[in-house]
Each structure stands twice: as C-alpha cells, then as structure tokens.
Amino acid sequence: MTAASRVPAAWRPAAFVAALAGYGVFAYWAAHSTLYIQGLVLVAAVFGMLAVSLDLVAGMTGLYSLGHAGLFALGAYATTILYNDHHWNLFLILPACLLGVGAVGLVLGAVSLRVSGLYFAITTFVFTLVVTVFASDSTFTGGYGGLIGPIFPEFPSWLSWAGQSVIWACLIALLVTTLVVLAIRSSPLYPVLLAIRDAEPFAASAGASTAAVRIGVFGLSAAIAGGAGWMFAFQGIVSPSQFSWQVSVNILVMVILGGINTTIGPILGAVFITVFPAQVNINPFWQEVLFGALFVGVIVIFPSGFVGLIRLIGRQIGRRLGLAGPAAPRVEEEQPGIVDAAAVSAVARAEDHAVARSNGSGPETPAIDCRDISFRYGDGPLVLNGVDFTVRRATIHGLIGPNGSGKSTLVDLISGRLRPGGGSIEIEGVAVDREGVTKRVGHGVARTFQSAVLVNELSARQNVQVGLYSRVPRLAARSLAWPALPSARRDGRRLRQTVEDSLAFVGAREWGRVRLADAPHGIAQLTQLAAACAWGPRTLILDEPLAGLAPSEVEHAASILAKLKSSGVSIVLIEHQPRFVFALCDEVTVLAAGEVVASGPAAAVRSNEQVREVYLGQ
C-alpha cells in the first residue's frame, strides 16, 4: 500500500507531474543557494539514494544488509582513483561503477545468501569492515587521510542559468533511483518479492527462483550504492571514516526511521539524519545522546517510522473532517458467493490452453507416477519406505493417513521441495528427479500448503497475483520500468482480469481488496486455492485445503474441486476428514508410518480391513 494508491486514479498523472515540478523548483533553488546548503543537499541526496537502495533489499525482501557502506565506499574510491590516476572520463566511470559494484553485490549476495537472514547481515557487516580496513591500510587509497575527489564539470554556457551542476546531478540521480524503486513497487513483481520475504515456499511453488531473485535484487541495490559512491566522490574528500560500519547502520536507521518498505520514507529518514545535526547547533555529545534516544524512541514507540506517523495523523484528520470513511476495509460476514459461470469458463479456457501445450503424452499417462520412493530427514529414521503412488489424469486422488505418516513429505517430494533418497518420480511421463521446484512448475504442477502460507500484508488479489509469476514473461527485468512499458500495460490488464476470474472461481471475489491479515481463515484457504489454479495448472496438489473451514465452506470447496476435475485437472488431496475424502475422491491412497497400506478406488479402500484398523480406528 503506497501513499499513491489512495489518490484517485484520474488524478495520479497530474499529481505525479505536480510533484515532479515541485522537485524541479527545489533543485533550481538548491543549485543557486549557498555552498553550505549545497553541501548539505549533496550529502542528503547521496544518503537518500543509499537509503532507497537499502530499503529495496531490507523492506521488500527482508534482507538487512549492513554492507551498504562498503559498497558505497567501492563506488567512491573507484571513481576517485580511476579519475585521478587513470584519467578516465567521469561519465564513463558512472556505468563502470554501477556495473562493477553491482557485480560485487551479486558475488557478495551469492556467498552470503547460502544461509539467509541474520547470517546475511553479519556477512555484509564483515564486508564493510574489510573494505574500510583495507582502505585505511593501503597506500593507493591514501590511507587514513584518504584522497581528494574529482570536481564535477560545470554546465556549458547555454545552461549556466541552471546554477550549480553537481546539485542537479545528485538530485536527478536520487530521482532516477526513486523512480526505479517505485516502478518495481507498482509492478507485479512486488507481491512476488514480499512472498519471497514472508512466504518463501509459496513464491517457489509459483515458479519464482527465490534465491536468484534475492541475489538479483541485492545486486541492483549494490549497483545503486555504487552510483551513490560515484556521486559522493564530488563532495571533496574520500576517506575511510566516511564509510565505517556505523555508516551502514546509519543507513539502516534512516530506512527504519523514515518508514521501512515505503517509497518516500527512506528519503525522509536520510534527510532528517543528514540535516538535523547540521542545523541544530548544540553540544555534540548532547546531540549524539539525543540521536541515540531518538533511535530507541522511534523503534520502541513508533516502529513504522515517519511515514506510519504521517499516515496515522492523516487518517485522524480525515476522520475528524469526515472526508474519508473508516480506513479499515469493508468486511462483510457473508457466505462466499455462488460460482460465476463465466469465470469458470474463463479458467476452463486456461486449462484447455494448458492441455494444448502439454508435452504430447497421451491421456493414459498418469499425471503423477512415483515408484518405490524412500526418504529420510538427515540421518533420521525412514519417513517414507518403498512408496508407490500413481495419480490418473482428471481424477481426485485422496492421500490420507494419521499424523506423521509421511503425507506432506511425499507431497514435498513430488513438488520438488525435497529430494528422495531412492526411487523415481514422473510427472506426465517425464522423469523430474533432477529438477527443482521452479522447473516442476513448468510441468503444470501447482500446490498449496497445509497452514496457508501467504503474504498477510497484501490483499487477496495481490496474493493471487503471486501465483501468476510464471505467466508474465521476463517480469524481473521489465519491473525496473514497469509503468512506462506499453507491453506492461497490456500484461497488467490481462493479469488483473485473470486474478479477478480466479477469485470469482473460488467464490472470493468480494474479498479481493481485503488484506489477508484482516480476512478470516477460510478466505486465506480460498485465496491459496485461487493462487494455485489461477495460471491453469494441469496437476494440483492440495495439502489439507479444508483444515479449519466451517461445514458450509467445506461443501463450497468440494464443489470447486469437482469443477476443476471436470475441466480436466488432476488433483492430489491431502485430507483428515475421512467422510469428505471418500465422497469426493475417485481413488484413495492410505499411508501409515511411511508405507502404503492401501491404494485404489475409494469404495474399495474404504472397506479395506487394514485401513479401518490403522486409520479409521474401527
């Protein structure tokens, strides 16, 4: 939810132009102001770029990088050294910085993301330490004293009315950075990034190679930090103390202080942290103490930062004036609507399309064919032992068994999250043993998870959009300029339509705009189902899709599954409610303690003595 999303759509271009014009006026003023103010603007703009780039990784993908001061240093030192010692053209150095530091970021990301989260923060922290220590102790970097940076070329005479060129340059650089991040935020990649952050298995099962996307985003962020370093070199002196690990933490503070995962927040934070100490003239020790108290106070009392505070105040003013209605979305307690016939046919069309693209194997080839699967976690006991599991096309195949019988493990093996210790898995006649989750999506396999794994801060619509990741070609690259691309506009319309159809198909269209955090559990389950079948999979694996649903909701879900089956989708259904399973499924496999107890037509399995004993307890 960006601030822009609350502006009426028709006004958005006008508001954008007005904001741009205001920014231009500010730049003109700054470019004609005193040297002191220009110095402040330059530093604030550079830190604005850094904060925006850090928010890209910290806010959108949840990676708290403490390496940004180091990456920033690489850009600044490279610029100064290439210019002073090797006499490169300054405008050739900029792309070199972006690409070079971006490449360093990719390597650093690839190395440190082998294990994620806190480990990533520590590795990047050490990276910054190493860069600064290296810069302090080497002679070609000028040691502790540092180097004198290049001077930014003046405007040519016909542009001299514009004032100080370096001010324009840094403000344009900040603008471009912000626009790139804004483009990503408004693109369909944004929900996918948040899914990688909060619900990684969900993103992976939608076909996103989560590791590659994370590393790629970090690389982009690193490139921007390199660009900020290039800009910073024109500020005068480049020395190690300007890039210490405290600077890394400061950039993180700017992001959190301003408002993490917001467009404008990191810039506000950067401006505040840069300008406040320069403007408020008090005892420097007192000032630092105040700063520390501010860090603690904001985090403890107001963790969503300035932007959160502004929104809160805005909402209260709006409420007092009676302008805006209550901010909470309209949530009506109503039964999910009747399935829309048009929507069903739309999804069914997608199915036909999917079947047409299938790899030519005949309808007799099973959708899933597992042979002699065995698996153990680490060197623990066998969780699955010699399991054969075959799902015929366009059937619903129930997979039941007591807790701990290996149902979810078997499903994880089929979808590629785990690799079997022995045996083979074929999807539509193709051996997939060597393929990961992402590739198996290419065989038309979609799945849901036991306890709905979704992004709670996004709406149902945005969550369904995550499921469509594999249907938008080259999404990651195009997201950098998404709002400006004509092809993106077309894709965006198609995407919105598919999302609507898919939500209507599961009967949750009413809930499309509601944040999942505010929606009941049943809606989360339906959203998960909608996300899984939105892109037209041929095989659907549902891990306890009925858990926690009310009886009427169970019936509703059953009708959805029946419709999917009739449109040719093969379904694996893990379930605990035996009555429901035998009524709905064509075939049933019973697992107990990692072995198949019985498998076959539902009626036959139901009357099997052994099954009654181990599972039904009769």
Binding site: V111, V133, D137
Partner: protein, 302 residues
C-alpha cells in the same frame, strides 16, 4: 613465540569475555546487543570514577561491574523487550541497541569528558616469567579470571534450572511462558549477566587502556568477532573464539607488521565465512534456527 601466545591469550581473554557477553544475551533472546562494547566502557568508567573519589579500588572495581550489569538489564527493558513484544521476528533491535550504544558513549563523554583518565592500578607492578616470556601479574589474572568465568557460566547453564530455562526461552518463548517461566525475568537476568561479563572485561583491561568513553567501539567489534568465531551454540565457545582472535592478532603484529592486528582478524573471519558458512565451532545451528523462523513465521509445511 611463547610471548606471542601468552600476550595473545591475555588480550584474547578480554575479547572472549565481551564475546561471551554477546552470546549470553543472544542465547536467551536471539538479540545481538550492539551496546555490549559500551557496557565494557561503563564498567571501566564507573570503577575509575569511584576510585577517584577515594574509595578502596577493589570496591570501586566491584561497583564498576555491578554498574555494567545494571545498565545491561535496563537496556533489555527499555530497548529490546518492547521491540520483541511488537514483533518477535523483527530486526529492529539492530537500531535500538545501537541507539543505546550512542547514548552510553556520548553520555559518558558528557559526564566524565572525552579524554583518557587514570584507572586504579591493582596488580600491574609484578611480572611473571613463563619460559622465555614475561607477563604482568595483571595479564595472568586476566587469563585465569576469564577462563574461570567461561567454565563457571557453562556449568551454571547446564546444571541449573535457571540456565536451562534460558535455552527453553530461546527455543520458544511462548511455550516457555505457558509452562510458567517468567521470560522477562530470565531475559533481564541474561542481559544483566552479559553486562557483568563486559564490566569484568572492562576492569581487567582498564589498568592498560585507562578510562576512556570510546573504549566500547574497539572492544565491541573484537568481542563480536570472537562471538562469530566461537559460535552461539555454547556461549563459552565465544571465549575460545576470543582467545584464538587474540593470538592471531598478536601473531600478525609480530610477523606481518605492527599495525596488522587492525585488519588481520577480519581476513580470518572472511576466510571462515567463505569456507565455513555454517561457522567454526558450530556457529551455524542457532543462527539458522533463528533465520528459519524469520523467513517462514507461518510455519511452512508440516
């Protein structure tokens, strides 16, 4: 060589104590208290201050350690607990504990001035000969106290209910609370103990460094590196990490150049991170656990 080893052990014991301070707070709360180095400084400054007022230096030293422990406990209550109460998986404590570090460092500079002041000399006079090497009595005591503290803590953690409670809370605070554990009390105690370790390190190094408000930075980083080498599975491993770091730093000073200890430890850490991403001495396991929880709070699949 013997001299390098022993001097390394003496300085490494200080790193190890600070590293254990990081680890003790981390193993209960999964929070890295970035003000840990500043707690060392608090210990030094307070001890020096009391000594200047004419108090018996031994009493002053004990008061210094207690002050560091008290500040550690307050840090938890003011800057960490509210953050975790808001979102147990957030990293916002990165910022709030750094804020505490800023307050402590500059507050000390405000109160006692930014320059170095004297510290009561307790044991420096005498020297001890070990083979070809010479150590001050202070250094010998430092090594002995640090190793005793590490062993004592580890025994306490494993043998007493209170120590085991820490592990239970780290694993699942909600469950531990449901079973009747007072998580706030245990976590506050852990932060206080972490502060006491830093304070202890402070009064041991004080006679060499004198009292200075900026001591926290240097020893904070060294302690953090010790933590990374040693790992968090067993807080006492941070002591091993600190001793190793101390020896490596001294060796680098001797063999490469006199400034080498500024950067050599980082090279060691980088190589370690590259070759052993899981960490030396099992740094990986609890980190990975914390990481996994952060990445999939929904609990993923069953």
């Amino acid at each position: 060589m013997m001299q390098v080893l022993l001097s390394g052990l003496a300085i490494g014991a200080i790193y190890g104590l600070v590293g254990m301070g990081f680890a003790i707070a981390f193993y209960v709360t999964r929070v890295i208290n970035f003000a840990e180095g500043q707690l060392l400084m608090v210990g030094v400054m307070v001890a020096a201050w009391f000594a200047r007022t004419g108090l018996n230096p031994w009493v002053a030293v004990v008061l210094g350690i207690l002050a560091a422990a008290a500040v550690g406990a307050v840090t938890y209550l003011v800057a960490v607990r509210p953050v975790l109460a808001f979102d147990r998986f957030s990293f916002a404590w990165l910022v709030s504990t750094l804020g505490v570090a800023l307050i402590l460092e500059n507050g000390a500079a405000l109160i006692w001035g930014p320059t170095s002041r004297s510290f009561p000399a307790l044991l420096t006079g005498t020297s001890v000969h070990v083979g070809s090497a010479t150590l001050t009595l202070q250094e010998v005591v430092t090594i002995a106290v640090a190793v005793a503290a590490a062993i004592g803590f580890e025994l306490y953690r494993r043998r007493t209910l209170f120590g085991k409670l820490g592990m239970a809370i780290a694993h699942d605070p909600e469950m531990a609370t449901a079973l009747g554990a007072n998580t706030v009390l245990v976590a506050t105690a852990a932060f206080a103990l972490a502060g006491a370790f830093a304070g202890l390190a402070g009064v041991l190094i004080g006679p060499i460094t004198y009292s200075n408000p900026y001591l926290g930075d240097t020893y904070g980083i060294a302690g953090f590196v010790a933590l990374m080498i040693g790992g968090t599975a067993r807080p006492a491993a941070a002591m091993a990490g600190g001793l190793l770091l101390g020896i490596l730093g001294e060796a680098a000073n001797k063999l490469i150049d006199t400034q080498a200890s500024d950067w050599f430890p980082f090279v060691v850490v980088v190589v370690m991170l590259l070759v052993l991403p899981e960490g030396l001495l099992s740094v990986g396991a609890p980190f990975r656990q914390a990481v996994r929880r952060v990445r999939s709070p929904a609990g993923a699949t069953g």
